[in-house]
Symmetry: C2
Subunit: 275 residues, 2 copies
Amino acid sequence: MLNRFRLHQSEEVDLSSFDPEETGGIESKDQIRAEYEDLQERLKELQDKLYAGKSHAVLIIFQGMDCSGKDGVIKKVLANLNPQGFRAESFKKPTADEAAHDFLWRTHKVMPAKGYMAAFNRSYYEDVLITRVHGLISDEEADRRLDHIRHFEALLLDNHVVIIKIFLHISPEFQLGKIRERLESPEKLWKFDMSDLQERRYWEEYRKAYEVALARSAKKRSPWYVVPANKRWFRDYLVLRIIVEELEALPLQYPTPEIDLAGLFDDRNDRRPEA
Amino acid sequence: MLNRFRLHQSEEVDLSSFDPEETGGIESKDQIRAEYEDLQERLKELQDKLYAGKSHAVLIIFQGMDCSGKDGVIKKVLANLNPQGFRAESFKKPTADEAAHDFLWRTHKVMPAKGYMAAFNRSYYEDVLITRVHGLISDEEADRRLDHIRHFEALLLDNHVVIIKIFLHISPEFQLGKIRERLESPEKLWKFDMSDLQERRYWEEYRKAYEVALARSAKKRSPWYVVPANKRWFRDYLVLRIIVEELEALPLQYPTPEIDLAGLFDDRNDRRPEA
């Protein structure tokens, strides 16, 4: 089932061929409730093995238009993980120090070590999206940055970092509804920003910038997933399933101890303190 | 003069064609004393402009066999810099956290920002040298790492990081003399390590690994300099001159203030506090 949502080695990406309303033939949340719980359990076990084995690192990148649900999916799908082995990183407007370095510096610094998982809420992909839409960089510069991204991800892959890239796909109408919700709800008003309405005007430019970025960076070893996100319950289910299936494909194992367990509790080792 | 010591776009490097005793036709330290002092002054001015302008960053990489004088050259040539805009970074055996990341992680983290200079005492090049000599990585892995290094340096260059790569070239006889000095001098004994003598046995393997690394990573925009280092005074002079000439080739300038300076001290602005 995941194949339909996976992009790898794409020549061209046409986001209009993906329906943001789609739910993969599943009619309602009730229908997958039991499977969802099972997936949650499997994810916890996988994280445990990952942490014990220290053979791989896992990087999950979330990209998408404003209101596509990047915060929500991290909160709902990844909240049950052991925080000792998991971190969520959010990348906003670069600080002065970040802007004085190459564009991969701030994300590389917080890359997960082997044994660890990280979720990136936005990422180095912003540096070929918002910058391009607003003409802060030329198309040539964007091209070079996409090359740098490709090489950077090759470096990570060589170091056994699993890269799961998720594009949360919504429609402009859905976005408008979400902005209205923010304005009307006291618990959501804090998330409203004038830029939500301003950036909306660039919807088409963002779509095109995303299509180029996805086409240029979707690789067999690091595909992109286009996740329909108008239906939040399907978004959560699909993201969870992608992560679980990606991790189950890895040769994760608990390491075998290097000590001789057989004699561990014999008289020599298990001596009680002298009275 | 620097051309003789510069490698760029080399197909092959044969270190035996460089004489570690050579002094570029200069007979003694006295002959260049005045020029050396002048170079020191110019370097300070260049750093000042670099710091003010924030248009470029400068990375100086020092590599070389044990006892080639990496510590010494940093101490002697770079000690006069303004420490607020300069940092020396030393890379020893990776920590557990460093080893759990890709091999470029620990150096990328401490990359100088625009306006800053950094000297690396050893660098990511160690990851294709000591590891290769001791069979910790295969030749294929070393090849892939050299590709990653090439791409990484291209990323830095695109971000206006100037990369000055210096290989301090000594002879095995000179090294032995230096090891003996360490053993005999109370102020140098602390630097002696059994590995100095052990690693010496791999001289030929190191030489070959260096030749491959230099040939593969010497580029027009980021050349290597092979600096003869048996004569310490010539090493210092040449390194200083390389750095000054590289920086003088940059369009460094003091930024012009964005405020109107003409009216700065007129009555409106320069009001004394009311009595």
